[in-house]
């Protein structure tokens, strides 16, 4: 074998390894959707169970083609802000040579796939908050906007080696706490403000009335599945370099071991913090999620007990954050804003507090608190403004929410041709999803 042949073999080996790695990350990320499916169906009352499931399944389905049509183009082309960098964007044009099977390009497909899964995750984040009253069509319009335009624009700015937030302010967000979770969380908040609470959620005097999902065990299993999927997500956040050390999306060196340490420690801290404050298994599992998000921005650099403490802090805070929303009569059915919006802020700002000074590449400023604060603000506004404006427009034309009588009767009976639990739902659902009386022999 000649040296050139050997070099080619090593490079090809590395290329195939890279492809395999992102393939399995993508596959594992599908568990995020299995998880959200279980989580949201479980959090819905009986009369809305399948409608919540359909909403979830379609969010995934619609983000995939729209991310192909324009999402990937946005990521590649908008690193400078709102102007298009055509030289870089061309590879994302949906009929370009990179956007399909290509024997000289083993990377585009698997990277596109991983990013598409991130995009679908943002739509899933919004999905739970708005259950039981949003119109499916409007939800999908918002999901496409969030998943294939808004978050990926944020990623182009702050989750790209050439993104302006990093080049000018040293913004560091390894595990996408800002670009995914802050963006999706604040987008969701904007939608919730226009959507309004579920009927019966708040008494006239503002007292919060409980609306309980039909299966907390299903929600708990769903949340645990999301954690498994999160490992696929975080695997997709690290960059494989043939014959060399891993790097973050910012080209700074790191290891998958670093991610392993800090992801598990953040996860555990989050569960423990949420248990301490609430003793409630639903919040405990949400705490596990927020624990990872709270440590996400600095997964590559934290001392693992620090990740544990950041996760613990996030887990302690989320229930209070949700209560604060309720004070303003904002009905976030699953605490999505608390976990992702607030958790994401903890992640981004935490990195500024505890990881300032880490160097960036190619002349970008070092990580700093001011850089992280700027990044957090940009991501929050990038999420909130389109979420609020578009949902306002949908509301204005009467398309945002189902009619009140449909909401009372249940979305399943109105929209879905099948029944979630036919043996106990022998006829149209009882009001408020109450259990059927026993069938008399």
């Amino acid at each position: 074998m000649t040296p050139e042949e050997l070099k080619h073999m090593i490079e090809m080996s590395g290329t195939i390894n890279m492809e395999i790695f992102y393939w399995w990350c993508t596959a594992i990320m599908i568990l995020i959707h299995a998880g959200f499916l279980a989580y949201e169906m479980g959090a819905s009352r009986l009369k809305n169970t399948l409608a919540s499931g359909v909403k979830n399944i379609l969010a995934f389905a619609f983000v995939v083609p729209t991310f192909f049509f324009f999402g990937w183009f946005i990521y590649l082309g908008f690193t400078s802000g709102f102007s298009i960098n055509w030289e870089d964007a061309t590879a994302g044009i949906p009929w370009s040579a990179s956007m399909g099977p290509n024997l000289t390009d083993n990377a585009s497909g698997v990277f596109w796939a991983a990013f598409t899964m991130f995009a679908a995750t943002t739509a899933s984040i919004m999905s739970g908050a708005v259950i039981e009253r949003i119109r499916l069509s409007s939800f999908l319009i918002l999901a496409i906007l969030l998943g294939s335009v808004v978050w990926i624009l944020g990623a182009s700015w702050g989750w790209h080696p050439s993104g302006w937030l990093t080049k000018e302010f040293g913004y560091h967000d390894t595990g996408a706490a800002g670009v995914v979770h802050v963006v999706a969380g604040f987008f969701t908040l904007g939608v919730l403000l226009n959507l309004g609470p579920r009927i019966g959620r708040f008494a006239k005097d503002g007292t919060v009335l409980p609306i309980v999902g039909h299966s907390t065990p299903m929600s708990l299993i769903g949340l645990m599945l999301i954690i498994v999927g999160f490992f696929g997500f975080l695997g997709g956040c690290i960059i494989y370099v043939t014959g060399d050390q891993w790097v973050t999306i910012y080209n700074t060196p790191t290891t998958l071991s670093a991610f392993a340490f800090n992801t598990l420690m953040g996860f555990a801290g989050g569960i423990i913090g949420a248990y301490l404050i609430t003793r409630d298994p639903f919040w405990m599992m949400s705490g596990g999620l927020v624990g990872i998000i709270s440590a996400a921005s600095g997964l590559d650099v934290y001392y693992p007990p620090l990740a544990f403490l950041l996760g613990f802090g996030g887990g302690c805070i989320i229930a209070y954050a949700d209560k604060l929303l309720q004070k303003f009569k904002i009905d976030d059915a699953v605490g999505a804003f608390s976990v992702h919006g607030v958790g994401g802020l903890i992640g981004v700002i935490g990195c500024g507090l505890f990881a300032s000074g880490y160097p960036n590449m190619d002349g970008a400023p070092a990580v700093s608190l001011s850089g992280q604060l700027i990044g957090a603000l940009v991501m929050a506004l990038l999420g909130f403004i389109p979420g609020y404006v578009i949902s306002y427009a949908l509301k204005a034309i009467g398309l945002l929410r189902v009619p009140a009588d449909v909401e009372e009767a249940g979305l399943d009976i109105a929209e879905i041709p099948s029944t979630a639990y036919p043996e106990s739902q022998g006829h149209p659902a009882m009001p408020n999803g109450a259990a059927m009386p026993p069938i008399q022999a």
């Binding site: 390009d105 999908l140 929209e415």
Partner: protein
């Protein structure tokens, strides 16, 4: 229909169907977009019809 852009695997790069036929790529792309938007449109109509039907049942 000959959709293959290659006649040999030697030196092949982009080899997806119609990779060398921009018109066909554009047509398939356009149909995909129409399908995506069209299903959302049909969803809006389905919702309207379903909600009215529920009201009539009551």
């Amino acid at each position: 229909m000959n959709s293959s852009p290659i006649t040999s695997w030697e030196g092949a790069a982009a080899y997806f169907t119609f990779a060398d036929k921009p018109f066909m790529l554009g047509l398939i792309f356009t149909i995909s977009v129409i399908v995506t938007l069209g299903v959302i449109g049909s969803m809006i109509l389905h919702e309207k019809h379903s909600f009215e039907r529920l009201n009539n049942k009551d």
